[in-house]
Amino acid sequence: MSADRSRLPEVGPDPAFAFPNIVGHTLPNGLQVRTIEHHGVPVITFVLQVDGGSGADPADKEGLAAVVADMVDEGTGSLSAIDVSDALARIGADYDADVNPDVTTFSLTTLTRFAGRGASLLADMTTKPSVRESDFDRVRQLRLDRLKQLNDLPTAVAERAFLRLMYAQHPYGHLAIGNDLALRSLSIADVAALHAATFRPPQATLIVSGAMSHDDLLAAASIFGEWSDGTRTTEQGPPAAEIEPSDRPALRLAVVPRENAAQSELRIGHLSARRKTPDYPALLVMNALLGGQFVSRVNLRLREEKAYTYGARTGFDWRRGISPFVLSASVHTASTAEAVRDSMAEIADLRDSRPPSDEELTLAKASLTRGYPRNFETAQQVARSVAQLALYGLPDSYFSEFVPKVNAVTREDVTLAAVRYLDPEKLTTLIVGDHTVIADSLATLGLGEPSVLPVEL
């Protein structure tokens, strides 16, 4: 039998999908534990998520939470930094620390036969880090040097400047790595203080997923029951999510000059929504068709039609508090102004002159829902997904409800979401690029004189 080339094969009904059962436990010390069985390959993942990420950095100590996270694999008890690294290697562990604006997440994946050793190591590292002066000094210096290097990386320069433009001095207004002045002022006492204040069992969640029964997963996690909730040395202020950013008029256009740059790194956006908004499914659909996937208005126009860029996308930089909507692309220097104009037009048009078509809506929903089960193929994917529930306070039923909720989004929902959460008048455009070459064309955008920003701010 040969293929019928006259038309594309139809897609069958979506396969049934059910997220595996999440079992919740509370250890006597207050630590929330969630276990999820994930069978097939003898692998297990532990994810420990503690409240307080870069948003918990004190105002004059931007970068502290990331230093604390770095210190976690720098020694514990009698183990030096080298010993910890050796112990991780001997169980073939894949270890990672991630400092998010709201939380810090530690992940350790190993073979199930090393489950006990992995759990015990992660517990010791995270709850009893040695925090030695010499390690602290080296870790901080590496971060200072890294900061210096980031000044040559256009994407990093753009991310940093864009956060500052969005949030100003709000605790969300900086990258986790912080800034030079703040890093230099840090002391080992600061590290100990932030660790004591934020690494506490009642403010943490441990997720364990792997090829074991719930009972065995819980047993592996039980070592975290020895984590005691010590005395708090400092009072933490309100979490970043609860602080309102100042409602000042946004800059329309800013440039970080980069002489002879081969391309312009572009960010266009404004503060928009909170992750927990009930409009989240509508925002997902809206973003997918605007710039969240390959076949989307922004990428088709900037890449496939105009060839200004290798790729352009839109998205929300989600956090517990108010989060930015942002369009990102790296565009050819000569096309910078045209790319900005086209990008802004796409955002504006979605709100009024070109609401989503039925076809776009169907495509966006299908691409979000039909392949959904592939997000849960590995123990680590499952554990990290469940960590998101803890991060955003979402119900355990979230994953099973995702597909029907997205499928229920209507054209009106998307249009309303666009009107409510996108505002062309509030967009800030940031360009990291060759200012002398692009200055004249930028003047034609009608966004006024650009503010010229330094590389570090």
Binding site: R5, N151, T309, A366, P373
Partner: protein
């Protein structure tokens, strides 16, 4: 699955037109990975047309005769994740689709394998040429140290050697490409006799072969292209190069010719890379970054390729540190490995990591590095999709002496040493370095 049975079970058949089809069942998640490899990469190019294989890959997403518009749309509509990539040796394409969309993915893949050319227009060609030039600017020209590997590739090989250029190609060559080149290239390399298809995931093996035959069986076979002649190459001596870049601190790259993928010594050099620069316990990280703090980072990697590999060691100096001292330290560590090999503890650790990482590779069916991609890699390079377990054995069988021997044999003084230094600071380069132009 127990630790003694680490493998990817599969069935392989070859269609009448020469297409290898390999099927692997994994019913845990209702998805299927479709993965196609073409045995063509940048080493099939010639000087003056470098970057062509990769540009061609872009055109494969612009439509084919019976679906004469973008490739992404119908697959996104089906909930697929998809991508493709080109390296020196092969070009791969993949979709991960819900089980319900296997037919559509196979229809699309087979249509572009068999009937691409009618859809390739001047306009599409020129647009993608500009997109690729932007990709080059974004990922190489506008990135700190982004041009280093180009300089190294050019220095390691004679100018007409197939590994003398990088897959992205030179910007002038990309601009010079013609639509006619596309047609010749397609007819030479894009056909069933030069490709293989893997279906992995939630489907029945017999049904998978039926579908493969239904969609690909009708395609006309081409002539299998002859292997690319890659002459033996060696460096006569150490060659020192330097270029200035928009960077804050100098970085040193040291490159050696090394055995081809799966050849004797290849796995051992992986282990050497681990013991030198993987993690805080590794010798160079510990000395340079942890103890003496003269480097910001150090990495080592055996870049395994079909017709000859290279081993690359990279270290970034801490501010205020010169490259001369860094090189001396690296050389001292290399000499100790060549003479004394790894300790038993280092071997145990390296093997434990290798075993765990082979297990991790069994977790995903699709995408880059998933099981479908691995089956195709082993099939193309070893004509044996089941090579996974043999591959792992290469590491299990390595001994301190075989690791020492490989380092002594390959990591010698006939090498390329490249300094990349901040603009205007030529004194930071290693002595006797020849200036190279990169663009």
């Amino acid at each position: 699955m127990t630790s003694s049975a680490i493998e990817i079970p599969f069935t392989k058949r070859t269609l009448a037109n020469g297409l290898d089809v390999i099927v692997h069942e994994d019913r845990r998640v209702p998805i299927v990975a479709v993965n196609v490899w073409y045995h063509v990469g940048s080493k099939n190019e010639r000087p003056g047309r470098t970057g062509f294989a990769h540009l061609f890959e872009h055109l494969m997403f612009e439509g084919s005769a019976h679906h004469n518009k973008g490739y992404f749309h119908p697959l996104q509509q089906a909930g697929a994740l998809l991508n493709g990539s080109t390296n020196t040796d092969r070009t791969n394409y993949w979709e991960v689709v819900p089980t319900s969309a296997v037919d559509r993915a196979l229809w699309m893949e087979s249509d572009r394998m068999g009937y691409l050319l009618p859809a390739v227009t001047h306009e599409r060609f020129e647009t993608q040429r500009d997109v690729v030039l932007n990709e080059r600017r974004q990922n190489y020209e506008n990135r700190p140290y982004g041009m280093a590997l180009m300089a190294i590739s050019a220095a390691m090989y004679p100018p007409d050697h197939p590994y003398a250029w990088m897959t992205i190609g030179s910007a002038d060559d990309i601009r010079a490409m013609q639509l006619e080149d596309v047609q010749t290239f397609f007819r030479t390399y894009y056909h069933t006799a030069n490709a293989s298809l893997v279906l992995a995931g939630d489907l029945d093996t017999e049904r998978a072969f039926e579908l493969a035959d239904q969609y690909f069986g009708e395609l006309q076979p081409g002539v299998k292209p002859p292997p690319v002649a890659c002459g033996e190459v060696s460096l006569a001596r150490e060659q020192r190069l330097v270029f200035e870049d928009r960077v804050q601190v100098p970085r040193i790259y040291i490159a050696w010719h090394s055995p081809a993928m799966f050849a004797a010594g290849d796995a051992e050099l992986d282990l050497v890379a681990d013991l030198l620069a993987n993690g805080k316990t590794s010798r160079l990280y510990r000395t340079l970054v942890y103890e003496q703090r003269v480097a910001l980072d150090v990495s080592a990697h055996q870049h395994s390729r079909e017709a000859g590999s290279f081993f690359l060691l990279v270290a970034t100096a801490a501010p205020g540190q010169g490259l001369t001292g860094l090189l001396a330290q690296v050389d001292e560590a290399l000499q100790r490995v060549r003479e004394g090999g790894p300790t038993d503890g280092e071997m145990e650790r390296a093997i434990a990591q290798a075993e765990a990482h082979f297990m991790y590779r069994l977790q995903t069916v699709g995408g880059f590095g998933g099981k479908s991609d691995q089956l195709n890699a082993y099939n193309m390079l070893r004509n044996d999709p089941g090579f996974f377990s043999v591959d792992l054995e290469r590491y299990r069988r390595a001994t301190p002496e075989s690791v020492r021997g490989a380092s002594a044999r390959y990591l010698h003084d006939r090498r390329i040493v490249l300094s990349v230094i901040p603009r205007g600071q030529s004194t930071l380069a290693l002595a006797d370095s020849e200036s190279v132009l990169v663009s």
